[in-house]
């Protein structure tokens, strides 16, 4: 596919993205922004943390995505007694045809293109950390042997924000590995009517697989070629720096309510997602508005609030908005 002309590649990108969006929205009623961001993260090769109340369609969204993609899909229900080996796999003792016994690796559910880590905050930190290597490096090490995960490898994790008893909040290091943290909001009345109508009858919409792994990888490569000007990159950097309370460009809210700001990985996430968004928008360059559009899902889980911020119940999105307002759009001098 890399040998085809760029215009054809762009056309294929736009068509594939559009078809994926259509398939998802056929099943997931409403939540268009959520669908858009999930697809952006998918093409950008980033993991997504979905946060929302039970019953809002988080699992449905990921399952539908797996159906629309011609990819291997695994669903892991995280529970307190889930062990790391239950995720990564384990070595089994098997008797060979010669009558001898040998170890055989039995891959865990993590060996799939698309992983649904359902209610990830219910597992113990030890089990949660089993995903760290897989998410960051795309491989797992079992019994001293590193095994590559299939590409693309995408983790879609969900968590319930209100049930805190018996849960283990994700450590910051693990949260930082998610490209996006998406909030699944309650549907509008019209969307709710559509959900009721669609999910209580006999005719459930069928989802067709419209994208395979090579196509998805090619889309990712194409998006990474999108040109980002120095002014846009500098803007993304200033946004990240402005989330740190000890920086002079930080707004007052950040100084007061934030303990730690975003890591450089937050900046990477901004630009990666912005490139995909520019490609989806039919542009060959990243614009300021692309950075702004993905700032919330990229930065909201990377701001560690101070005690005062948590006591005030300040939403991270509010802080990100303050940062967006405080950082001006500057052009090269």
């Amino acid at each position: 596919m890399s040998d085809t002309p760029l215009t054809d590649r762009v056309r294929i990108f736009e068509e594939t993205f559009g078809r994926l969006r259509r398939e998802l929205t056929r099943v997931v009623v409403g939540q268009s922004d959520l669908v858009e961001h999930v697809l952006l993260a998918l093409v950008a090769g980033g993991h997504v943390l979905l946060e929302g109340l039970p019953g809002l369609g988080k699992t449905l969204l990921v399952r539908t995505l797996s159906q629309a993609l011609d990819l291997s899909f695994s669903r892991i229900q995280f529970t307190p007694d889930l062990m790391p080996a239950d995720i990564s796999g384990t070595m089994l003792v098997e008797e060979t045809s010669e009558g001898r016994r040998a170890f055989r690796f039995s891959p865990g559910p993590v060996f799939a293109n698309l992983i649904l880590a359902d209610e990830i905050n219910r597992a113990t930190p030890k089990t949660q950390s089993a995903l760290l290597e897989a998410m960051q490096e795309g491989r797992v090490t079992v019994a001293g042997e590193a095994r590559d995960l299939p590409q693309p490898f995408l983790v879609m994790a969900t968590q319930n924000p209100i049930e805190m008893e018996g849960t283990y909040p994700l450590p910051e290091a693990q949260v930082d590995r998610f490209l996006f943290k998406l909030r699944v909001g309650f549907p509008d009345p019209e969307d709710l009517v559509g959900i009721l109508d669609q999910t209580t009858g006999n005719h459930l919409p069928r989802v067709e697989a419209v994208c395979d792994a090579p196509t998805l990888l090619e889309m990712g490569r194409l998006a990474r070629e999108v040109v980002a000007g120095s002014a846009v990159l500098a803007y993304a950097a200033r946004l990240v720096l402005a989330t740190h309370p000890d920086r002079p460009e930080a707004p007052d809210a950040i100084r007061r309510y934030v303990r730690y700001g975003s890591s450089p990985r937050g900046g990477q996430a901004l630009v990666r997602a912005a490139r995909v968004r520019a490609m989806v928008s039919g542009r060959y360059n990243v614009a300021f508005e692309d950075i702004q559009a993905v700032a919330r899902p990229c930065l909201r889980h990377r701001l560690i609030r101070s005690f005062e911020g948590e006591a005030e119940g300040l939403e991270p999105d509010q802080l990100v908005d303050d940062v967006l307002q405080a950082v001006p759009l500057e052009v090269p001098a």
Partner: protein, 485 residues
């Protein structure tokens, strides 16, 4: 459009941006420039200097700001980004121009971007990308600039804190006085013209009493009036001679006054500074004759040397010269002689008596005093003003120096000869000693009356309906019947 076309478009955009920014900063600089100019205009005007010189910041500030903006180097990348923002091109032009300028490695996507940007740049109009806009304080700057220019256009006196100099006021009053005198002497002017000039003079005299009126302006108008009067004299040369003669006699009158004052001061105090000042004024007065000035200079020199006797002789000589210039005594009082004038001046503290005289002074129909007594309040000519004022001064001084009781002392008679006739009676005579009756002996000292008598005679000649060309004949006739001759 190729890549060079894109770059050329970026340069066009940069030029337009520079123009817009230059005008913008110039408009922005107008306000502080106007504030500074306003201050300078007020300061210069307040100090009496030309206020328009303070307008310089009004032009220098905007020009300097615009020049500084023009001198800034063009940055096509920056301008392309700005054009993107203004046109909603989502950083297409900026990113593409940046790629062009920075010579970054061009992947396939960058090449497509350049083509796309070049296509879009073709439709970009620099004026649309950078519309001219003005700063919010531009209107304030315009208002201030207008106010400043208006203030700078005002006359300097309106802004100056300095009130008209006292010297200007004194000079204006002096000129008004001279004008009134000259106007009184210039009797050959036509009545309409004379009334017009007199009305103008009175208006200016009234204006001088008003503290709100600019004395410099009045002085200029008085000068113009003087020129008008002079023009009238030039137009009528045959009348000019008479006017000038009268003016000369006025000067002689002034010299005689100074002479009397000097003699009196010298009699009271041999070291009188007043006498010196008067003699100095006489010596420097160009209107006096050469002889009078010389005698005054001699007297001044003698006083400086402490030679009182020589000073008195000089004063007496000056008095003789003054009398000789004037040539006659007052009508009705009879002519005096040069020796009488010398005696009067040389002995100001002694009683003087008029000599025998029988002159008649009856060539006036009605004297100014009689008109005054008749209740007429219209402005009179120079003769009336000067006579009434000077006579009053002199009478008071005369009574102090020569009380009536001294009339019976056996002193030399320095009075004008003759008897009081039926003609006009000089006001000074009447005020000093009571109005004389017809046939009484003359009682006024000669030196007091001869100039007034001459002027009264001139006034009488001027009042009569005598053709101008015949007035000399009439004057010569009366001079010819002067008993002194």
């Amino acid at each position: 459009m190729d890549e060079m076309g894109l770059l050329e478009k970026a340069r066009q955009l940069a030029a337009r941006d520079r123009q817009v920014r230059a005008l913008h900063v110039a408009a922005g600089a107008l306000c502080p420039g106007a504030i500074l100019a306003l201050g300078l205009v007020l300061l210069l005007g307040w100090s009496g200097q030309p206020a328009w010189q303070g307008l310089a910041p009004l032009a220098l500030f905007p020009a300097g700001a615009a020049l500084a903006e023009f001198l800034r180097p063009l940055n096509p990348v920056r301008v392309a980004y700005l054009a993107d923002r203004n046109l909603g091109l989502q950083e297409r032009l900026g990113t593409a121009v940046e790629w062009l300028v920075s010579q970054r490695p061009r992947n396939v996507m960058a090449q497509v971007l350049l083509r796309d940007a070049a296509t879009r740049a073709r439709q970009v109009q620099p004026r649309a990308a950078f519309p001219q806009h003005w700063p919010t304080r531009f209107r304030t700057g315009l208002l201030l600039a207008g106010l400043t220019i208006a203030l700078a256009g005002l006359p300097a006196e309106q802004l100056s804190w300095q009130r008209p100099d006292a010297e200007v006021l004194v000079a204006a009053r002096g000129q008004a006085r001279d004008l009134r005198r000259d106007l009184g002497l210039a009797r050959h002017l036509q009545a309409a013209r004379r009334e017009e000039l007199q009305a103008r003079l009175e208006a200016l005299e009234k204006a001088l009493e008003d503290p709100e009126v600019d004395a410099r302006n009045v002085l200029e108008r008085l000068t113009a009036l003087s020129e008008d009067l002079q023009t009238g004299l030039d137009v009528a040369p045959e009348q000019d001679a008479a006017g000038r003669a009268l003016a000369g006699r006025g000067a002689q009158t002034e010299a005689a006054r100074r002479l009397r004052e000097a003699a009196r001061a010298l009699a009271q105090d041999p070291d009188s500074e007043e006498a010196r000042t008067l003699l100095r004024q006489m010596a420097g007065d160009p209107r006096s004759s050469e002889e009078v000035r010389g005698a005054a200079a001699d007297g001044l020199e003698a006083l400086e040397e402490g030679d009182l006797e020589r000073a008195e002789q000089a004063l007496a000589r000056a008095g003789d010269e003054t009398l000789g210039d004037s040539g006659s005594n007052a009508p009705g009082e009879g002519p005096g002689s040069a020796g009488e004038g010398r005696q009067a001046l040389a002995n100001p503290g002694q009683e003087v008596r008029p000599g025998p005289g029988n002159g008649q002074a009856d060539f006036g129909r009605q004297t100014t005093l009689e008109r005054q007594e008749a209740g007429e309040t219209e402005p009179r000519d120079f003769v009336l003003d000067r006579q009434s004022q000077r006579t009053a001064d002199w009478s008071e001084e005369y009574r102090r120096l020569h009380p009536p009781r001294r009339d019976h002392l056996p002193t030399a008679d320095a009075r004008a000869p003759g008897r009081v006739g039926r003609g006009p009676t000089l006001p000074g005579t009447g005020q000093a000693l009571g109005r004389p009756r017809v046939g009484d002996p003359a009682r006024s000292p000669t030196q007091e009356t001869f100039l007034e008598a001459r002027e009264s005679a001139e006034s009488a000649v001027a009042r009569e309906d005598i053709p101008v060309t015949r007035r000399d004949l009439v004057r010569n006739y009366f001079e010819g019947i002067d008993p002194r001759l």
